[in-house]
Every structure is written in structure tokens, then in C-alpha cells.
Point group: C2
């Protein structure tokens, strides 16, 4: 695997041929919550993967507008499967809301509590976005469906956790 976008590209092309633009668009409405990708990564990587023989591009220009559609080669399939079997999966999180909470002892208590409330609202907002996605649980291939379910379940868990903690932290302090 060359870099971070390599698996998404190979994975999406394993489902069907796509252009760089379509890859970006697909990522932006599916994996973006846990795996983002930018044009600045995608286009150079498509060229590299073609040079390495893992994908094959075909000209699909529409009139004067250039367009290149890529499909996975046999070698690309093997590479994708090797990655799927690979043992180590890294996980990185960058959560500014948690960082604020971590330093919130520097604030007056009521303002710190408002940060928890703001976190809850943030996840409620995301929940709305996820529920607005037209594909509903059960209507996708089982493991795509699994990941969609994860998104919903995780977001719901976060909102509930915030609510519980708010309750715990304000407990008995309502009129003291």
C-alpha cells in the first residue's frame, strides 16, 4: 500500500470503474466520516497506481472535457485482498471538543458544563445528517450496511453519553 488513499481507491474500484472525480464524490458521501481523501492525494495516486499496474485507465472523454475512468487489474485485486487480510489497523482521532473538555477545569463550572451540552448538540446534528442519507440499514451489501450502522450507533451513543454525564455532573446541585 503506497499511502493513505491507496486502499480507498482500490476498494471503490473493486466495486466498479470510476473517475478520480467520482472517487472523491463517493468518498465524500460514504467513508468521509472515518476516512477522508483529497484531490491532492487522489489524482497523483491514480497515476502511480496505473504506473504500477494495479489499475488501468481508459479515456472516457465527453466531447472536449477530459475524463479518465479507472478499473482494477488482477494485480490490483490481489493488492486489495492482501490489505484486507493485513493485520495492523491504525486508528487516529482528532477531537477538538474532547480537548476543550480536558482543559475545561480552567473555566467556571457552568461554562464547562455548557461544553458538554455543546458536544451533545454536535452529535445530534451529525445524527440528523446520517439519518438523512437515503440508503437505509438493510439495503446495502452486508458489510457496507454494517459500517453505516456503526455510524448511527456511535453517534447515538455519544449523544447519550453526554446527556448522562451532564446529569451526573449537575446531580444534587440544582438548587444548592
Amino acid at each position: 500500500m503506497g499511502n493513505a488513499v491507496t486502499p480507498v481507491i482500490l476498494g471503490l474500484l473493486s466495486i466498479g470503474p470510476r473517475s478520480g472525480y467520482e472517487i472523491k464524490a463517493t468518498v465524500d458521501r460514504s467513508t468521509v466520516f472515518f476516512w477522508a481523501a483529497s484531490y491532492g492525494q487522489i489524482y497523483p495516486e491514480l497515476r502511480r497506481l496505473e504506473d504500477d499496474g494495479l489499475i488501468e485507465g481508459e479515456d472516457a472523454s465527453n466531447g472536449a472535457r477530459a475524463r479518465r475512468v479507472y478499473r482494477l487489474t488482477a494485480a490490483g485485486h490481489r493488492e486489495l485482498e492482501a490489505w484486507l487480510h493485513g493485520g495492523d489497523f491504525k486508528m487516529e482521532l482528532r477531537d477538538e471538543s474532547l480537548l476543550r473538555l480536558f482543559f475545561a477545569d480552567a473555566l467556571p463550572r457552568d461554562e464547562a458544563l455548557r461544553l458538554v451540552e455543546a458536544r451533545r448538540r454536535m452529535f445530534e446534528h451529525v445524527l440528523g445528517q446520517l439519518r438523512a442519507i437515503d440508503e437505509r440499514p438493510g439495503e446495502d451489501p452486508p458489510f457496507v450496511d454494517l459500517v453505516l450502522r456503526w455510524g448511527l450507533a456511535y453517534t447515538e451513543w455519544e449523544t447519550q453519553w453526554c446527556a448522562e454525564q451532564l446529569e451526573r455532573l449537575t446531580e444534587g446541585a440544582t438548587s444548592a
Copy 2:
């Protein structure tokens, strides 16, 4: 806020004076799960923050070994509080395990299920690490404690979710 490390530096210095090395060490055993920082960011940023008057460095060399300890200035305190009050908190996730699951329909069912099991084991491992941290819930300032609780609760939730999904996906298929 200059860049991504700025808030951690200001936040940690608001608790007490530290050297760059100590900032890195503190981050690595506290915020690293949701906010990492590298020397390549920390040292240049310390200089920039000192130039801007948000922190003040003092020489604390020990014999021939150079050491510089920084503390927050009044302006730095104001900057930190402004950030704590700021409205927008970004959240980014990069989860290779989820990405694998997303493309797992390309695998035979039993191998795909093993990916779920591997995810569960990964979070069980993290849970062990978190529980090994000497500071236990209740023994820190309330909001530091809150974030520690979050880490434990989140990791537990992930292991449970994996177990539930494994059950759902193998349901009735044990001897069919």
C-alpha cells in the same frame, strides 16, 4: 490559534510550567488518543508563542544540558480562554478497521466476520491499556476525569458493539 498544537501547549502550561520535552511526554500519556503532537510541531510552536508573548521561557539548564521551561503569560491565558469559548470544534477520525469492514463484502463471509472479531480484540487491548493508567476515575480534576471516563466508556462501547454485531451476523447460520 496558530495551529493544531497551540491549544494543547497553552492548556498544559495553564496547569503548570513545562519544557517542550515534558509537554510531549504529558501529551503521550493523556491526550494522545484524541489529540496527538510531535516534536516537529511543538518546538517551532514554542518559539512562535514566545515571540507572540503568549508564553514566557526561562532557562532551566541542568549543568551542560540545555533546558527551557515555559509558563503562560496573561495574554496566553486570555488566548486559551478565548479558544475554550470558541464555537466550532472539528472532529476527524481515521479508522483503518472500519475501512476494511466497508470493503469486506469482497471477502468470503467467514473472513469478513474475522475482521469484526479483530476489531473487538483491538478495542479490548486498548481497554487494557487505559485501565493500566494509574490515575483512576475520581482522582483528577472533574473535567480531566470526565475525559478519562469517556475513553473507558467509548472503548467498552466499541467492544460491545462488535460482539453484538458478530452475534447478529452469525444468527441462525451456525449449522445451516
